[in-house]
């Protein structure tokens, strides 16, 4: 919570003595924790470098400008790879997320006590771990390359997509489902006619939203060796080729802006 709110004297008048004491103690604990954290960070920092930082930053800036524009010719394939990692990863993730979402939603899960917790565990564990970590893991298992990137993005996105999707499933209008059930439709027909049409817009929105995020994430997967433009960034950094680094950063920035624009357009068209 922001410290600046403590300033107002009037704030404390509306609380009783006990409450006000409680608030003071809470603030005190908060400040103490923050002070401890800051002290730990400070301890493991070489302050000499920090005081030197403006000079270094300036140094990097002069070296990095202007960007080496002709290097762009070598970035075509990495950009294509990045796009593929994001798109294919999103497609795989959606294919896997749909069943997980149906198993996790309270109103469609076949068993609330056995299967739902498993689906929720899949969602939380794939969501908690960053795609870079998944990429590290997959590189250790199946070797470096674009494929590891695709799978890493796919795994990371399952939880995200499934969570949003199962929330959409739980919010559907149950009378529509009831009406389809009343016609004598089978379980799968109720799904296809009563539930799917209701969640389709949410599904499309989630797909595009996640694709946008995945474009961002796949630009850096190369840092750990999982293909895409991050590989070039990593190797340029290793040889301290700052003009190339600045060009790559510009390209990444452009990719992020374009994907955000595309995703906003598509979502606007759906909704």
């Amino acid at each position: 919570m922001p410290v600046r709110e403590t300033g107002s004297v009037k704030e404390w008048q509306r609380r009783t003595g006990r409450e006000s004491l409680f608030h003071w103690v809470l603030w005190l604990i908060g400040i103490a924790i923050f002070a401890y954290c800051w002290q730990r960070i400070s301890e493991s920092t070489t302050w000499f470098f920090v005081w030197d930082a403006p000079r270094i930053a300036n140094d990097i800036w002069t070296r990095a400008t202007p960007p080496r524009w002709e290097y762009i010719t070598q970035l075509g394939k990495p950009i294509w790879d990045t796009l593929n990692i994001a798109t294919l990863g999103t497609i795989f993730a959606l294919i896997l997320a749909v069943p997980v979402a149906f198993l996790a939603a309270r109103n469609t899960t076949p068993s609330a006590y056995l299967i739902r917790p498993i689906a929720l565990l899949i969602i939380v564990s794939t969501r908690s771990i960053n795609s870079l970590i998944w990429a590290l893991l997959l590189i250790a298992i199946i070797g470096p390359g674009v494929f590891a990137g695709v799978i890493a993005i796919a795994i990371r996105s399952i939880g995200f997509c499934a969570k949003l999707l199962y929330e959409a499933i739980e919010e559907i209008d149950t009378t529509q489902v009831e009406a389809i059930t009343a016609t004598g439709a089978s379980r799968w027909q109720v799904m296809a006619y009563g539930i799917v049409p209701q969640i389709l817009p949410a599904f499309a929105g989630i797909a595009v939203f996640r694709w946008d995020i995945n474009i961002r994430e796949s630009t850096v997967l190369g840092l750990v060796g999982a293909g895409g433009i991050g590989l070039q960034l990593s190797s340029s950094l290793n040889v301290l080729a700052w003009p190339q680094v600045s060009l790559i950063l510009l390209v990444i920035l452009a990719a992020v802006v374009i994907s955000e624009w595309v995703s906003a357009k598509v979502r606007g068209a759906i909704i």
Binding site: C37, S44, T46, L132, I139, F147
Partner: protein, 273 residues
Amino acid sequence: MSAPAFDVTTQIGKPWKKPPFVQNPLLRWGLLAGFIAYLIAAYMTIDVNWARVYEGLERGKQFVLAFTSPDFTSRSGDIYDGMLESIIMTVAASVVGIAVSIPIALGAARNVAPLPIYLICRGIIAISRALQEIIVAILLVAIFGFGPLAGFLTLSFATIGFLSKLLAEDIESMDRVQAEAIKASGASWTQWINYGVQPQVMPRLIGLSIYRIDINFRESAILGLVGAGGIGATLNTAFDRYEYDTAAAILILIIVIVMALEYISGIVRARVQ
């Protein structure tokens, strides 16, 4: 009923088809063909080394099995230090990030701030959102040297972009009447913010802050990969040495902490709303 003339007998005996989602047939088939062509092209260029993947399945199995017997002990010192550093970075960066993002959010709300300040604050937000944590971390490590300071700054910077944007949107969509009533009473600008704006956006600020703490912790786990402190370095070492049981232990810890944070945030959000 004033139904327009429609002769149903012309329809009887004719097959019925659902009207297609995209009306123009050329566009419809063009989109489909383009998508399939893209998939094929993408698949061709991915260049999977299936032999290597097949070999990897064995290691994959070992990794999955490692989750049943995670090893918390043999590198407990490294894990403890890394986790503590991650948490410290998270806490410090969240406090600073939230504190800084409040004035920036006010500056980025068009109904509160004058145009020049609005543009500056929106610019800061745009830069922060466009640059990913890991890239910011690389640059900051290059500038400030290795260690948690770079990670702390990275997370603070990312928090500002995230929180200011959402908070500014909330301020822009707040109820004008309430805020105007305070202004009409002759309040100064700070009083107006304190009494007219703050009460309206506080629940959302708390909810978003807790959500951001959750994200910061998850992100802190990867900053170590580029030397910006936290558990990431330990995790990276574990993968490099194929110590899957240690890696599994770290991942389990991350998942458990994230779950706990989500649980807490659920409770807090339910209470403030």
